[in-house]
């Protein structure tokens, strides 16, 4: 049971999604991307709610959609479990009826349906709400019902469109664990859409990054984290991404020159610098780093036990330091500082 | 209402079974009285009566039966009594070609046939029942139609095998139905009466129109449509 997708779908004339993706049985692929990138569009196409314009969707040995061949399997025959981004719960039905909907539709035995429903309600702490009409749920409750409704049917493919966005932080942590366990038991391919890189890194075997309707990077969590190929991915991973020109161990970004460890590379490159790889000094530092320059702090943000500094000309870099360092160095907005980065800390890849 | 040219307009409420002949009377009257506009208000006699009782601005009322006229006179809405201006005899109507081979009134007792009359209370229904009792036939009725038109529609369409309507209707139906005469002994005459309404906006015109209907010319037009003139 492998999902093999290569599709072109246009939406309202303005937007076109053009993507290929392959998910093996038992593999979770996360689809990560900015708002409006086309993630939900992909879900709608896979689920059969939005026929594709070109290409093919193949699940196992079944062609689900292929306009060139005139094949289109309707949604109810696709055996795909979907958590929709906006849930699409049936407001007139109770929570239990919503969860049982799929099984009942598939004509399972009423007793079996009730039993399974009870299990899932319990699993998602929804038992107390079993008889509440779905339209009377809070946002997070509704999302849990949507999850239970999709997971209970044991489909051949799972499509989860931001299945935890509305959950509170602790429920999310618990559910992330539970979902992880559930996913690892689930035999088919699964596609997880999320905005939370942690979620993607934790739950997915492979990450596909989608931007403006195109897949821009595919790889493991580490590939994405360490070798981001676009500004969006770099921001996501917390890295600084610089576009420059390399020749014999030197990368020129704008007017600034960076020394890098890789002397073989040349031409247009992507250079990445992790924010924690940058050191901050009040005086010109002595020592090994080959890259040292002077700049100004243009923003200071406190994130719990980290502080993020944004520096200005000549290189806009994000730098992470400890609160203690901020105090010790007396850093504040507008402070002049010296930054240093070891050449070995700068990742370089052909752009 | 209330416009200045009211004297040029005469509103005549006429029973719908008088529709065709009154359209002819209207054009004849307008030809004879240039500048006068006769406006017909055609409807069931009872309906027209209700309108007048409710104060409808009508000048003349021509009813299909004296009974319908009576409440108007009783209410003092008409000066003096109403005048009978025409009579109409009844006839058996059958679909063109007479598919059920109706011979006469006796066939109305045949349960096998589809027979229709006008309903009790409707003039043609009352008359029709009188004819039946005079002929000593107990009709096997399948439908009591609310008016002649409705009855004729069904006969024309072949849905009914026979019904009793006015002779004038048979003539007006132009061969789409066939008429079978009812023997004089059994036949009855409907009396059409006319009155002018004192509350109407155009009393003068009303009187002139009623006189016209009763005039020799008017009576001739009526006779031409199969009405019997008194």
């Amino acid at each position: 049971m492998t999902l093999d997708v290569s599709i072109t779908v246009s939406r309202g004339g303005e937007f076109t999604l053009e993507m290929s993706i392959r998910i093996e049985a038992g593999e979770t692929v996360a689809l990560l991307g900015p708002n409006g990138a086309g993630k939900s569009t992909a879900v709608a196409s896979l689920a059969g709610l939005l026929p594709i314009d070109e290409g093919r969707i193949v699940l196992g040995n079944r062609v689900l959609d292929d306009p060139a061949e005139g094949v289109f399997v309707p949604p109810e025959e696709r055996e795909i479990g979907v958590v929709f981004q906006d849930y699409l719960l049936f407001g007139h039905l109770t929570v239990a009826e919503n969860v049982a909907f799929g099984l009942r539709s598939q004509k399972e035995e009423p007793d079996a349906v009730d039993a399974k429903t009870a299990v899932w309600l319990e699993r998602l702490s929804l038992a107390r709400l079993a008889d509440t009409k779905a339209r009377d749920l809070s946002g997070g409750q509704a999302q849990k019902v949507a999850l239970a409704r999709a997971l209970i049917i044991d489909p051949e493919l799972l499509l989860l469109d931001e299945p935890m966005a509305a959950l509170d932080a602790t429920t999310r942590v618990e559910l992330r664990r539970d979902l992880g366990e559930h996913l690892s038991e689930f035999p088919g391919p699964r596609l997880l859409i999320t905005h939370d890189p942690t979620e993607a890194f934790l739950l997915a075997d492979e990450i596909n990054v989608i931007e403006e309707g195109r897949i821009t990077q595919v790889g493991s969590a580490d590939d994405i984290r360490l070798r981001p190929r676009t500004r969006y991915i770099a921001d996501l991973a917390g890295s600084n991404l610089l576009v420059g020109n390399a020749s014999s161990g030197v990368v020129t970004v704008g007017t600034h020159v960076l020394h890098v460890a890789d002397t073989a590379i040349g031409g247009s490159v992507l250079a990445t610098i992790h924010p924690r790889a940058v050191s901050v000094h009040r005086q010109h530092p002595e020592g090994s780093p080959r890259n040292v320059w002077k700049t100004t702090i243009v923003r200071i943000e406190h994130f719990g036990d980290r502080v993020r500094l944004q520096t200005g000309e000549p290189l806009a870099l994000a730098v992470e330091v400890t609160p203690a360092a901020v105090d010790a160095l007396g850093l504040e907005l507008g402070s002049d500082v010296w930054l240093s980065v070891k050449a070995t800390e700068i990742g370089v890849e052909p752009g | 209402g209330g416009s200045s040219d009211v004297s040029d307009e005469i509103r005549v409420s006429a029973a719908s079974s008088l529709g065709e002949v009154f359209i002819e009377l209207e054009s004849a009257f307008e030809a004879a009285n240039p500048g006068v506009d006769v406006v017909l208000n055609l409807g069931g006699s009872a309906l027209l009566r209700e309108q007048i009782l409710a104060g409808a601005p009508v000048d003349v009322f021509a009813s299909a039966s004296a009974d319908t006229m009576a409440p108007i006179v009783d209410a003092g809405l008409s000066e003096g009594s109403a005048t009978v201006f025409a009579q109409g005899f009844l006839a058996i109507a059958v679909p063109a070609g007479n598919p059920a081979n109706i011979d006469g009134l006796v066939d109305f007792g045949n349960e096998e046939l589809l027979i229709g009359l006008c309903d009790i209370g409707v003039p043609c229904g009352e008359y029709g029942r009188q004819v039946m009792s005079r002929a000593g036939v107990k009709p096997a009725i399948d439908t009591n139609e609310p008016n002649v038109r409705s009855l004729l529609t069904k006969i024309e369409a072949g849905e009914l095998d026979a019904g009793i309507v006015y002779m004038t209707d048979v003539i007006a139906a132009n061969a789409r139905v066939e008429g079978i005469e009812i023997p004089d002994a059994a036949n009855v005459a409907a009396e059409y009466s006319i009155a002018f309404i004192t509350e109407g906006p155009n009393n003068e015109g009303a009187k002139v129109f009623v006189e016209f209907v009763l005039s020799e010319f008017g009576q001739m037009i009526l006779a031409g449509q199969g009405f019997v003139t008194p």
């Binding site: 689920a47 109810e76 699409l88 539709s105 | 309903d119 009790i120 209370g121 609310p146």
Partner: protein
């Protein structure tokens, strides 16, 4: 702080609304008052306690309920097709559905006669083959009444279907629900109030239908004479009886509707 009843969230109407709505109520109230003023209250019971009335009542009840049932069974699918499918000739079909609304009922009845009567386009072969005659029977009444009233159901439901967010149907399908299950468990409940409104319109139109019925089915007490036909006949002969009957119709209908609607809508 005193103990209080929980307050209900109350929408407040724009001011013009109150005025216009009041105007509307008066407009509907006046004729009813007119009717009540003319009602022969003292003879009411004697006027209404007759075979004719009871027969007509029963017949009207049967025919109008049958019309609602048939209209729902046939009309809802038709509305669905009109609302959801793109096909060549859709405008035409919609036009066809509207025809009975536009035709004067008497003409509609005549058209039915031409089509389904003993000598009609379809009625004649039907009669020759089976001996079945629709006119002059309760079937004729049901056909006439359904013909005239079904368009109300179709149009109301079509409007509601177009108003509805069809993504919920997609969600149901993705859960494996077949088209029929989707319709029954998602679509239908979601358009509930409009369907109810459509059924009420249909029933009301059916119970008040006169022209098509009398033309197509005729008027025989106990067989084809519905309440409006009885009223019409009484209008000719006995105005008091006609008014009494009309009031009875209004009273019954309102009782039924008010009971039904409040039940129905509350449960939604």
């Amino acid at each position: 702080m005193s103990r209080r009843q929980p307050r209900i969230a109350q929408s407040r109407p724009p001011i013009v609304f109150s005025v216009l709505a009041a105007l509307g109520v008066v407009f509907f109230l006046l004729p009813l008052i007119g009717l009540l003023v003319r009602t022969p209250w003292s003879d009411l019971v004697s006027l209404l306690a007759s075979d004719v009335v009871i027969d007509a009542l029963v017949l009207s009840a049967i025919a109008s309920v049958a019309a609602v049932i048939i209209s729902t069974i046939v009309g809802v699918p038709l509305a669905w097709v009109l609302a959801r499918l793109e096909f060549r000739g859709r405008s035409l079909v919609r036009g066809l559905v509207l025809a009975p609304l536009v035709l004067p009922p008497v003409v509609g009845g005549a058209a039915l006669l031409f089509a389904l009567g003993r000598r009609g386009v379809v009625g004649e072969p039907l009669y020759d083959a089976t001996g079945l005659v629709l006119p002059f029977s309760i079937w004729g009444v049901v056909v006439a009444v359904t013909f005239v009233s079904m368009p109300f159901l179709i149009l109301t439901v079509e409007g509601a279907l177009r108003n509805m967010d069809s993504r919920f149907e997609g969600a149901a399908a993705s859960l494996g629900a077949g088209r029929w299950t989707v319709f029954r468990r998602v679509t239908l409940p979601m358009i509930g109030p409009s369907l109810a409104a459509g059924m009420i319109l249909t029933w009301s139109r059916a119970i008040g239908e006169f022209g098509a019925t009398v033309t197509f089915a005729g008027n025989l007490q106990g067989e084809t004479q519905t309440l409006p036909l009885a009223v019409f006949v009484a209008l000719e002969s006995n105005r008091d009886a006609a008014i009494a009957l009309s009031l009875l119709m209004v009273a019954i209908s309102l009782t039924v509707l008010v009971l039904l609607r409040d039940r129905w809508l509350r449960s939604l």
